[in-house]
Assembly symmetry: C2
Homo-oligomer: 247 residues x 2
């Protein structure tokens, strides 16, 4: 979901540019700049609409989370679309498990929406995040810094909460090309290394999911996904099995 | 979410058409048909990508539901994006409540994915659906017929399941214009009337949510939504309060 928007935005910039190049008035006359402006506008409408659609989803989900109380026995699944897409209370067979994933979210986004979670002083928080940051051209080290800031916030505001930091999963640009993740497989690897150091430094539990999902070429196993980034049903069982001992 | 795709497809057809009209060779020469074909292709890529993105989400969600067991004590929330977007077990404070909503789904879609639900012989099923059918230019009567077929399937395959049929909610094209819902407010009203008759005929509980969400102009109350179709967090509490006596 993150990248459809980015893809639209990219197309929205590139296509009009190409059009403008193609349509520049030649010796035999041409269409001039007006249709190009028209096209540019059309694409901008399109991309703005797509972006707005993600924003409204984000706000709806965040306002829902503000309404849902968190308590001292609760286990919070904090994340992006990977977390959002599952039914965690069912997967973990535990009604204290609460989904706090939002499609497209970045680590700074988690930070900014922690209040309704932290005021409940939950028992545990499982965090998975970073791939949307990668798509925003952020380095592994920056991802780790953002994550450390988030962990410090949790520890400060809710000292009894046990924190579980999960690694980023690989993606697979052979299944579908995610333009903004192109050739960034190494950022996930670097980021995970840096995240593991954050976990060690902050004394939180590190859960390395990456090896469970990666193929021999460093990509998300093709059979686990239908778009190269998100997980099919059976792949969620692998994730569940990897974390169930912490519940 | 349903309509971003439809909107993209519409734009994808309309804009190239307009472009072709604008760019037809005039007396002073023009660009001819080639750029139009190029533009048409670009838009088709865009719309295909968007459609594919919805399809892959649908498949991921459906394959997850195939993995999640349903049991005799369970209460199923069956629906489209309105149902998908909530955390029903939290809203209802009941771990037997299971979200079976998928963004963009139509009633025939529910029918085709009932197997993993019905084989568990759940205690109750709450159904809300139809607005995506409305956006596909289906009449209120057709919606009711599809719903009746679904209810008959549930009654046949899982006779002890108690069925709760919820009305469609209004939408609000002043908040945002959903092109495929344009001037179709009456289809929701007609559809609800026909759905209520289905509920009576089939002996299932009818829950009329519509009056709780509609304003004096027949639109979804603006304060309940940020896109005219989907619900903000506080609006889910109204829905919850309306159905909690049936849990």
């Amino acid at each position: 979901m993150i990248s459809i928007l980015v893809f639209l935005v990219t197309l929205g910039i590139l296509v009009p540019l190409v059009c403008c190049t193609l349509l520049i008035p030649g010796k035999k006359g041409g269409v001039g700049i007006r249709p190009c402006i028209f096209l540019l506008s059309a694409f901008m409408v399109l991309t703005t609409f797509a972006q707005a659609n993600q924003d409204v989803y984000y706000v709806r989900r965040a306002t829902l989370f503000e309404q849902l109380p968190v308590g001292k026995k609760d286990i919070i699944m904090l994340g992006n679309s990977l977390t959002d897409g599952a039914e965690w209370n069912e997967l973990m067979r535990n009604n204290h498990v609460k989904n706090r994933g939002i499609v497209g979210d970045i680590i700074q986004g988690y930070y900014e929406r922690m209040e309704p979670i932290l005021k409940g002083q939950p028992k545990k928080i499982f965090i998975l995040g970073g791939v949307n940051d990668v798509s925003h051209d952020v380095s592994g080290d920056s991802i780790a810094r953002a994550m450390e800031k988030l962990i410090v916030l949790i520890k400060t505001r809710s000292p009894r909460t046990k924190i579980y930091l999960q690694s980023m999963l690989p993606f697979n640009n052979e299944v579908r090309m995610w333009k903004l993740l192109k050739d960034r497989e190494h950022v996930v690897v670097d980021g995970n290394r840096a995240l593991e150091q954050v976990a060690r430094r902050q004394g939180v539990t590190w859960i390395d999911l990456y090896p469970l999902f990666v193929d021999e070429n460093g990509r998300l196993k093709a059979e686990y996904t239908n778009d190269g980034l998100h997980l099919l049903g059976p792949a969620y069982l692998i994730w569940r099995d990897a974390i169930k001992k912490y519940f």
